[in-house]
């Protein structure tokens, strides 16, 4: 693969006078400045199709006099690193060429930007009703704009009762079955519109953002430590991963080097969280198939791990642990050893459970060949995390773009190719085992020393990334003077993967729907932000 310098040179040669490139060796990142014209989709196509970069996300920012749009791409092979396409245009120009015909993964990013900033993406097939539901919000409301008056939004708004979601299936006898936003048991709020002519789900359309808390907006104008609370708590089942990504972004801006002991302990906490999350998803899968003993056994293990987390870090979901500059708490080597030992014990029980599941035909029948996502579909939608890896799509940021010292650890990123529910379960089980292996390696790598260094905020922009339990997460931060957050952007794995969820749910029977939902293990809170 070409180095970043070569990439910069090639881009300038291909589009002379239109694309300007520069390389930031520290990141390492190559920025390509494009004009807001049809050149943009061409460059995107070149970066993704010809060079094999993965689309990470779109960051829109309203500056004093211009729109600043940054499209972030990363290499999954470590080198050469990151590529960033950037366009700037005056605020009066409210339209940008869409890149989703070239990179389908950008589809939802553009819809979100259109809804929240009021920018039109020329050539995008479907804009409107997305983050702000059209039955409650007027289309012209754009809350992420700097001049947005929050007071307008707070007034009691009445729903537009005439509003109906768009229906696609027009066959005779076709009907839509709404599931949500409040539905059975203990579930997160989301609406699924399932269109059918009888038995099979022909079209599944998740209508999300019922839990939109606008953390990107309310973060603006706040201090770093206040923003950290939002980063940590918007999706609390993976709180540590997101707090870590945010902290790493701040550390990059403020040029802070985290002490080695803190790096190693961060790996320990991150893997403990991943293990706990995966066991939780496995519990959901057992529950969805109605295998109650297995579900109980898995839920015991989840509770065990919650208790281990609380015993180690003081909180069952590891709140208040990660901060820019390190960690708030130093664990003794004995405490780490105790937690690792407990995790090994849980893993042993998980293996016993796995053995039982592999021989339960009633369970396997519900998972095998159900909810299939092919490798090509996963690539097209840019899926991330265990779901992508169950469809044979490589990509784990811990290996691709190592952070927090992961490059020193030896571990596997398990891969399956079937892309069905059972493949997703196997990936979760294998990753859980790998997490425990990494935790065991931690105990041999613990150096004595401090776990945090002071951070003095300085202005700048950076992004931090982690392989969260559900997949790649990117947190972009723009700090202004005095350490005040100017723009905070969260690109969460659930947002990316919900985009592709309908692929798995469509063409399967109604009764498979809860099982497919469980094997995805997605968080609505992480998507809605």
């Amino acid at each position: 693969m070409a180095t970043l310098a070569e990439l910069a040179m090639q881009a300038e040669q291909k589009w002379p006078g239109q694309v300007q490139a520069w390389v930031d060796r520290r990141s390492p990142l190559c920025e390509l400045r494009c004009p807001p014209s049809e050149v943009l989709p061409e460059v995107v196509r070149w970066v993704v199709v010809d060079l094999g970069y993965r689309f990470a996300g779109l960051i829109v920012e309203q500056e004093t006099e211009a729109w600043d749009l940054r499209y972030l791409f990363y290499s999954i092979h470590g080198t050469p690193g990151w590529a960033r396409l950037r366009i700037r245009q005056p605020l009066e120009m409210r339209s940008v060429p869409s890149i989703s015909p070239q990179v389908h993964a950008a589809d939802w990013h553009e819809r979100e930007a259109e809804d929240l900033f009021g920018i039109t993406f020329e050539g995008h097939p479907r804009l409107g009703d997305f983050v702000l539901h059209d039955d409650l919000w007027q289309e012209e409301v754009a809350p992420m704009r700097r001049d947005f008056d929050e007071r307008i939004a707070i007034v009691e708004r009445n729903p537009d009762l005439k509003w109906r979601p768009r229906r696609i299936v027009k066959d005779p006898g076709a009907f839509a079955m709404p599931v949500g936003p409040i539905y059975s048991g203990v579930t997160e709020s989301a609406l699924f519109l399932l269109e059918t002519v009888g038995e099979d789900v022909i079209r599944a359309f998740p209508r999300l953002f019922y839990k939109y808390r606008a953390i990107e907006k309310i973060a603006e104008g706040r201090k770093v430590e206040e923003c950290l609370l939002l980063a940590e708590r918007f999706a609390a089942t993976t709180a540590f991963a997101h707090a870590l990504a945010f902290s790493q972004a701040i550390e990059t801006i403020c040029r802070v080097k985290v002490p080695p002991r803190a790096q190693t302990l961060r790996v320990l906490a991150a893997e403990l969280e991943r293990f706990r999350h995966h066991v939780g998803v496995i519990h959901e899968i057992c529950e969805s198939t109605g295998l109650s003993v297995a579900a109980s056994q898995a839920s015991i293990l989840e509770e065990d791990l919650l208790r281990v987390s609380c015993d180690l870090a003081g909180h069952r979901y590891l709140f208040g642990l990660a901060i820019p500059g390190g960690l708030t708490r130093n664990f003794t080597d004995a405490a780490c050893g105790g937690a690792i030992e407990a995790a090994v014990l849980v893993l042993r029980k998980l293996h016993e459970l796995e053995d039982g599941l592999r021989y339960s035909s009633s369970f396997l029948d519900r998972l095998e060949g159900v909810g299939i996502i092919s490798g090509d579909e996963a690539r097209e939608f840019g899926l991330v995390g265990p779901i992508a890896r169950a469809s044979g799509l490589e990509g784990d940021l811990r290996k691709a773009q190592p952070y927090a010292g992961y490059q020193h650890f030896a571990f596997d990123a398990p891969l399956e190719i079937e892309g069905d529910g059972f493949a997703r379960l196997r990936v979760l089980l294998a990753e859980a085992a790998e997490s425990v292996r990494i935790m065991q390696e931690v105990s041999g790598r613990l150096e004595a020393g401090e776990v945090s260094v002071p951070v003095s905020p300085m202005p700048g922009r950076a992004f931090g990334w982690v392989e969260a339990p559900r997949g790649a997460a990117f947190h972009g931060v723009h700090l202004g003077g005095g350490g005040i957050v100017q723009r905070y952007r969260v690109i969460a794995p659930s947002f990316v993967n919900w985009h592709g969820f309908h692929l798995a749910a469509e063409d399967f029977a109604f009764q498979d729907f809860p099982i497919i939902l469980a094997t995805f293990g997605l968080s609505v809170a992480e998507n809605d932000r």
């Binding site: 203990v186 953390i215 609380c310």
Partner: protein, 261 residues
């Protein structure tokens, strides 16, 4: 016999002895900062400044903690040389001053209660803790508590999250669909005070801004035992948290029509 049945039997009984006895296992609760602790003026000001949600206030030489705002950030114990003590425990639920609780209907919920869980913008943690209530460690079924999917059969509405704008109307609809007598339990700091998210232009400052609340369970998230304590308080089977008398609960007055309704 199916191997799963044997498997389950082999595991034995692990259910907590709470509410008959206190649970002593490690890691069941993160605890809460101690309230009404005498502190120096200087330490008190530091604690006030450290608390990001304004839960700590210095009153007459004591650090007072409003548990409805505490979000478990640990800054009052890890961020200063004069830390506030954190107390273990989980019996945190209180009745609101306007709330009815089971006292109004002594027979109605005493033996069994059906719970409708509504996520009104929760971050996932509170909901996950509610989910844990059904695992064998807590097994709320043994106490006559059942989670129901429909508001028509529900006795108590368990709400988590600050109530986002998009969830306001579905929440109201679920509440309206419940038959009387009915109770509302707000679980977690977000549902009590908006937490770190509300009030904002898309979220309220808690459930009480939309529907009347009877039982409040603080915590971020409250551990399963705290939620269980809330259910027991709602049914009149356990007394509320010891600070009930001392904490004035503002802003949750129940309209008289709901009483009749």
């Amino acid at each position: 016999m199916s191997p799963w049945v044997l498997n389950g039997l082999r595991r034995g009984v692990i259910t907590t002895s709470y509410p008959a006895h206190q649970e002593a296992a490690k890691g069941v609760s993160p605890g809460l900062p101690a309230s009404l602790v005498p502190v120096t003026e200087e330490a008190g000001r530091v604690l006030e400044a450290l608390c990001p949600t304004g839960a700590i206030s210095l009153e007459r030489g004591e650090a007072r903690v409003d548990y409805r705002r505490c979000i478990h950030c640990f800054r009052c114990c890890r961020g200063t040389d004069l830390p506030l003590d954190w107390k273990p425990g989980y019996e945190w639920a209180t009745l609101t001053t306007g709330g009815l609780s089971a006292a109004a209907w002594p027979k109605a919920f005493h033996k069994s209660m059906h719970i409708l869980v509504v996520d009104a913008g929760d971050c996932g943690a509170c909901l996950n803790e509610v989910k844990q209530l059904s695992n064998p460690y807590y097994n709320i079924h043994r106490l006559g508590f059942f989670i129901t999917p429909t508001p028509r059969k529900a006795d108590i509405l368990l709400v988590v999250g600050p109530v986002t704008d998009h969830m306001r109307l579905p929440l109201q609809a679920a509440y309206d669909a419940m038959p009387t007598p009915k109770l509302v339990m707000a679980v977690g700091a977000c549902a009590l005070s908006g937490g770190v998210f509300g009030p904002s232009f898309v979220a309220r400052g808690g459930v009480k801004d939309v529907i009347p609340v009877d039982v409040e369970v603080p915590g971020f998230p409250p551990p399963p035992l705290a939620i269980l304590h809330g259910l027991l308080v709602a049914t009149g089977r356990k007394p509320p948290a010891p600070w009930q008398a001392g904490t004035a609960v503002a802003g949750s007055t129940r309209p008289s029509s709901a009483l009749a309704g």
